[in-house]
């Protein structure tokens, strides 16, 4: 179970999946794009590898033969903040929320496209390699200056309520990653608001009206139905 790659400066990816076909597929599509790969076929070897291999990103399947994927997630989270992307055939939102709330950074439902996977890995790597957050977040026409609490769209300053700003800041600090409803509610309003999802919806709706060109086809704040919201990271031009 050792990787043939010798170069130490490549980002390291640990694949925990019991399906040989999936492992082989991932191996094929990812090794070309300069990653150091390590494979584990069950939960226990996966946990051991996470400690010894020290990966930069973990791709985790939830349906493992020995341990439930969520359990693996929890045990890794006990000691490591390494980005974990869940790859699963479980497409129910409950499962997604459970995985994200347990500490997963991202969730991809099988089957998925290769480019989608690469984008998610890149985003995760960016978040984990980034030591200090950039003070200014820029995505297409939207820019958020966290040090000055300033939001602009197409260069024009946009006025947000404190709550709206708090939501946006949270999304910006986790840009590209899905934040579940409960994560946002907990961090913006506090734990008492966990059962009040409508305040979040109203605020998101208002926020969109202010920063989106067409609120019914949002480009920045993407709804993950049943799971939460994600701030999309786009290149400057558009």
């Amino acid at each position: 179970m050792t990787s043939e790659h010798t170069t130490d400066n490549l980002p390291r990816i640990l694949i925990i999946d019991d399906e040989l076909a999936i492992r082989r597929f991932l191996h094929t599509v990812l090794s070309r794009t300069e990653y150091a790969l390590h494979e584990a076929e069950n939960g226990h070897t996966g946990l051991a590898a996470a400690a010894t291999f020290r990966p930069d990103v973990i791709l985790l399947d939830l349906g493992l033969p020995d341990l439930d994927g969520i359990e693996v997630l929890r045990r890794i989270r006990e000691w490591s903040p390494v980005p974990i992307i869940v790859l699963s055939v479980r497409e129910r939102e409950d499962d997604k929320v459970a995985a994200l709330d347990a500490g997963a950074d991202d969730y991809l439902t099988k089957p998925f496209g290769v480019s989608e996977l690469r984008a998610r890995i890149r985003a995760a790597l960016r978040r984990s390699l980034q030591q200090t957050p950039e003070p200014v977040f820029v995505s297409a026409d939207l820019s958020v200056d966290l040090s000055e609490r300033r939001v602009t769209s197409h260069g024009e300053v946009i006025f947000l309520t404190p709550t709206e700003y708090d939501i946006l800041r949270l999304l910006v600090t986790h840009a590209g990653k899905v934040m579940t409803h409960s994560q946002i509610l907990k961090q913006v309003w506090g734990i008492a608001y966990l059962e009040q999802p409508h305040v979040l919806r109203v605020n998101i709706s208002n926020l969109r009206r202010k920063i989106e060109a067409d609120p019914s086809r949002p480009r920045h704040i993407i709804t993950e139905p049943g799971v939460g919201y994600r701030l999309k990271v786009m290149e400057k031009a558009s």
Binding site: H198, R201, I204, S205, S216, R217, I222, T223, P225
Partner: protein, 897 residues
């Protein structure tokens, strides 16, 4: 059954009989009878010996009930056998010990020993007789060893009485002898038996000692021994015949005789029945017992009802087919029945009427013989002393009879007074008319005997008061003697005629009531479409017709449930057990039957030729009503009718279910076909592309390769979509989807749907209009997103690429209205409802490759939200789907769907 020398095939009837017997014996336990001719021949001893032997062979033997009478030899043999504790039964303060039938049935040994087959059980036991217990044990598949003396067999009962002068009351039906798998005759010479008796080795109950001593005379013993030997020989003969029949061995075939015996309430009928039974057995013939009921003898019926009923039951017990026929002319009815049933011999009793009565009414025997034609008539005679055996007549005094006599006297007094008043104007002979009038009135109002009394009194009063010399009974003019005679005879004749007319009317009335009640029941039953209605009709009609309380029990799984009952009738556990017994054994039980007579109701199985459907229990108001043949017949008819009605409903239910099943099967087959088609088609493309890339890669141009890959990716996408849809559909149908209702922004809903379809939409124009202020709507955003995605997906597929798609959201009172409209071809009007059916696809020539599940998933989800979805064609072309969702959560949505 015809057989001749060349016909070597076994007759089908014989094979069928054999098959039936085998079928029955396959389930039944085997009965072994140790048959003796008197007490003390050693039956119990022989039975125990055999049991010990079986035990040595490794069989599971249980001594269910063995009476050793303290004989040491017998006790020794009991050692090592498992003895079943006896059941203690208290009856009228006397403790009795009986065999524990239920314990045997639960213990389920292979062989049970049951001593004294003819024993009568203590009142309150399940069965009146032990042989009935034995039958039940056999039916449970347990073998039985039993002992019995020859004099207990029913058909020999009267012969034994004739021989020994002792009437044996404990009888066993002869069919048990036929049922027996093996009969072991325990035979010792009478001299030895007497020797044993003198040595005190024969048990004799103290109270019966005298009678038994009379019984143990050498002559008696010899006769009984012969009887038992003959009976056993007859059985061996039977087996031989059966063997010959099945093997097609030609032999002295008995002709297919069918016997018929006519009985009445006469005390001789019983003997007549026994005689016929013996004759039938000798001839190997089927036999029928018929009672002809005539209106003319209505009073006779009432008085002998018990006796007739008893006789018919006896005949049934002896194996006859029993029938009651109503007719006015006895001999005609007898002959009609005989012809209908192909009777070859009619058995009738020799009349014992005196000569002069024969002159008045010729005996029925004569007319039967005259009309008998090809049918033989056997006339059986009786010894006069038999008469004392007759059951004492239970005369029912009519309550008003005494009053009737008094009123008759009063009538005569009134007539006398009238005559006294009119004496100056009337001749004495004309005064007779007043007395005659009084007699007529008496016979009309008070019946026959008071009328006859009034005739007599009339004569005397007329003589005393009006015939000179007046105030004496002397008669001066002898001509008056003729007047007296005339008055008396006319009085008697009139009263007889009137009485007969009344009785006839009464019989007709009773019959009329019965017919009417049966008619009402059948009319009600015919109108009943479900079980409840049938039960109601049955309870009501039986209540009315028999003045009874009714309960009906139908099987529910393993047990019987009370499904209908008369008001105020409560069944305790014991009564239910009786009903249960009647149901399981398909025989009537309870009050006034052979089985579980201590019950307070009589229970009849509701049976059709095919099955037993339930039990009806009836409590009649009067005890004697249970024994009336009319009531029994009516009950039987009710039970049969009800059973047929229940069966009819069951059948129609089954037919309905079969239809539903068929329809479901068709649907499922279509579904499977469709699914396998939809799964295989994209797979075929993907597989094809992959194999061509693997095998012909060098020959493909770059453009061809990318085209192939594009196609495969599209198909894989489609396959994924289809599997997703199938899973969704399965979840919705299985009720496995739980709604997570949250207040949602409609704009967000549409946005999510558009985002999901981003690539497919491309540059297609999609407009979204909504009210400036929209409330948050409670919904499951994930599922509703899927609904909108499916609708948009359909619109994209079924409308031309250049035409816009419109989404409109609005509110209408407490509903959210969400419309998705396109400019496609629309749907044929008659299919607008069907578009939401599973696997419905709009027939488009090129085929847009839909799964046919999208809209039905939408429907499932929207309805789970308590909403509605409908399709309509737009007036200016295109299809519009309208979703209505409630703005407030309703009760239902909090539950799973």
């Amino acid at each position: 059954m015809m057989a001749n020398g060349d016909d070597i095939r076994p007759s089908p009837e014989a094979m069928l009989k054999l098959a039936q017997a085998e079928e029955v014996t396959a389930e039944l336990g085997k009965l072994k009878i140790f048959l003796g001719y008197a007490a003390g021949v050693g039956k119990t001893y022989a039975m125990l010996e055999a049991a010990q032997q079986r035990k040595k062979d490794g069989r599971d033997v249980l001594a269910g009930y063995v009476e050793s009478h303290g004989r040491p030899e017998t006790d020794t043999l009991l050692e090592g056998l498992e003895l079943l504790p006896r059941k203690n039964v208290t009856y009228m303060g006397v403790a009795l010990q009986e065999m524990d039938l239920d314990a045997i049935l639960t213990r389920r040994p292979q062989i049970v020993l049951v001593d004294e087959l003819a024993h009568s059980n203590a009142p309150g036991s399940r069965h009146e007789k032990r042989w009935q217990d034995v039958e039940e044990i056999l039916e449970a598949g347990i073998d039985v060893y039993t002992t019995v003396n020859i004099q207990h067999f029913e058909s020999l009962n009267d012969v034994v009485t004739q021989i020994t002068g002792i009437t044996v009351r404990e009888t066993v039906p002869d069919r048990l002898l036929d049922l027996a798998f093996e009969i072991k005759l325990i035979d010792i010479p009478p001299e030895d038996l007497l020797q044993r008796l003198h040595e005190g080795k024969v048990y004799i109950a103290d109270q019966a000692a005298k009678a038994i001593e009379k019984f143990f005379r050498p002559g008696n013993l010899m006769a009984l021994r012969e009887l038992s030997l003959r009976r056993t020989a007859a059985r061996v003969d039977d087996q031989m015949r059966a063997y010959m029949e099945t093997r097609s061995i030609a032999g002295p075939w008995p002709t297919a005789e069918r016997l018929m015996v006519c009985v009445s309430g006469s005390p001789y009928s019983e003997k007549l029945i026994r005689a016929t039974c013996r004759l039938a057995e000798e001839l190997k013939a089927q036999w029928f017992t018929v009672y002809i009921e005539t209106p003319g003898v209505g009073r006779h019926i009432r008085e002998n009802r018990e006796l007739i009923w008893h006789n018919l039951r006896l005949a049934e017990g002896l194996g006859a087919q029993v029938a009651t026929v109503s007719a006015t002319d006895i001999s005609a009815a007898v002959m009609e029945y005989a012809h209908k049933h192909n009777i070859t011999k009619i058995v009738i009793g020799k009349p014992n009427k005196s000569r002069w009565r024969e002159l008045i009414s010729p005996p029925i025997v004569d007319s039967i013989i005259r009309f008998s034609g090809a049918v033989d008539v056997v006339v059986v005679s009786f010894e006069p002393e038999q008469h004392k055996k007759s059951v004492p007549k239970q005369r029912q005094r009519r309550p008003f009879e005494l009053g009737g006599y008094a009123a008759s006297c009063a009538l005569i007094a009134v007539a006398t007074l009238l005559c006294e008043l009119l004496r100056p104007f009337l001749e004495p002979t004309n005064m007779v008319m007043f007395y005659l009038l009084a007699v007529v009135v008496a016979s009309v109002r008070f019946g026959r005997k008071p009328a006859m009394l009034s005739a007599l009194l009339g004569v005397l009063a007329f003589d005393f008061f009006f015939v000179p010399p007046i105030m004496t009974f002397a008669v001066a003019d002898t001509q008056y003697l003729l007047t007296f005679l005339g008055l008396f005879v006319v009085g008697v004749v009139i009263s007889t005629l009137m009485a007969r007319a009344r009785e006839r009317a009464e019989v007709i009335r009773v019959r009329e009531v019965q017919t009417a009640s049966l008619y009402y029941l059948s009319r009600d039953l015919a109108a009943s479409a479900d079980i409840d209605a049938v039960l109601k009709a049955l309870v009501r009609n039986v209540e009315e017709a028999l003045e009874a309380q009714v309960v009906i029990l139908l099987p529910e799984g393993e047990r019987l449930d009370i499904v209908a009952f008369s008001a105020g009738l409560i069944l305790d556990i014991k009564e239910q057990a009786v009903a249960d017994w009647a149901f399981r054994n398909n025989r009537m039980a309870g009050r006034a039957t052979d089985t579980l007579v201590s019950a307070s109701l009589i229970y009849l199985p509701l049976q059709t030729p095919a099955s037993v459907l339930g039990v009806i229990g009836v409590r009649l108001r009067h005890d004697r009503s249970y024994h009336s043949p009319e009531n029994r017949r009516l009950l039987d008819a009710f039970a049969t009718q009800a059973a047929m009605a229940l069966e009819r409903i069951q059948f129609s239910r089954q037919a309905e279910q079969a239809q539903i099943l068929q329809a479901r099967e068709n649907l499922e087959r279509a579904l499977l076909n469709s699914i396998s088609h939809d799964l295989r088609t994209p797979l075929a493309t993907v597989t094809g592309v992959l194999s061509s890339l693997r095998d012909d890669e060098s020959r493909l141009s770059e453009q061809e390769r990318s085209e192939l890959l594009e196609t495969a990716a599209g198909e894989a996408e489609r396959l994924n979509r289809f599997v997703g849809n199938l899973l969704d559909m399965t979840r919705i149908e299985a009720g496995a989807v739980r709604l997570h209702l949250e207040p949602c922004d409609v704009q967000d809903l549409v946005g999510c749907a558009l985002a999901a379809l981003e690539q497919r939409i491309g540059n297609r124009e999609i407009s979204f209009k909504m009210l400036p202020v929209m409330p948050l709507v409670p919904m499951d955003l994930v599922l509703m997103t899927q609904v909108v995605v499916n609708l948009l997906d359909n619109s994209l597929k079924y409308s031309p690429p250049g035409k816009p798609i419109e989404i409109v959201a609005s509110t209408e009172s407490s509903w959210l209205l969400l419309e998705v409209a396109d400019r496609g071809q629309g749907v044929p009007e008659h299919d607008l409802k069907r578009v939401f059916d599973k696997f419905y696809r709009i027939p488009i020539p090129e085929g847009a490759g839909g799964t046919g599940l999208g809209l039905s998933i939408c429907k499932g989800i929207v309805e789970a939200h308590g909403g509605e979805i409908s399709a309509e064609n737009r007036t200016d072309g295109g299809l519009r789907i309208v979703i209505r969702l409630p703005l407030r959560t309703t009760e239902r949505q909090h539950h799973d769907f």
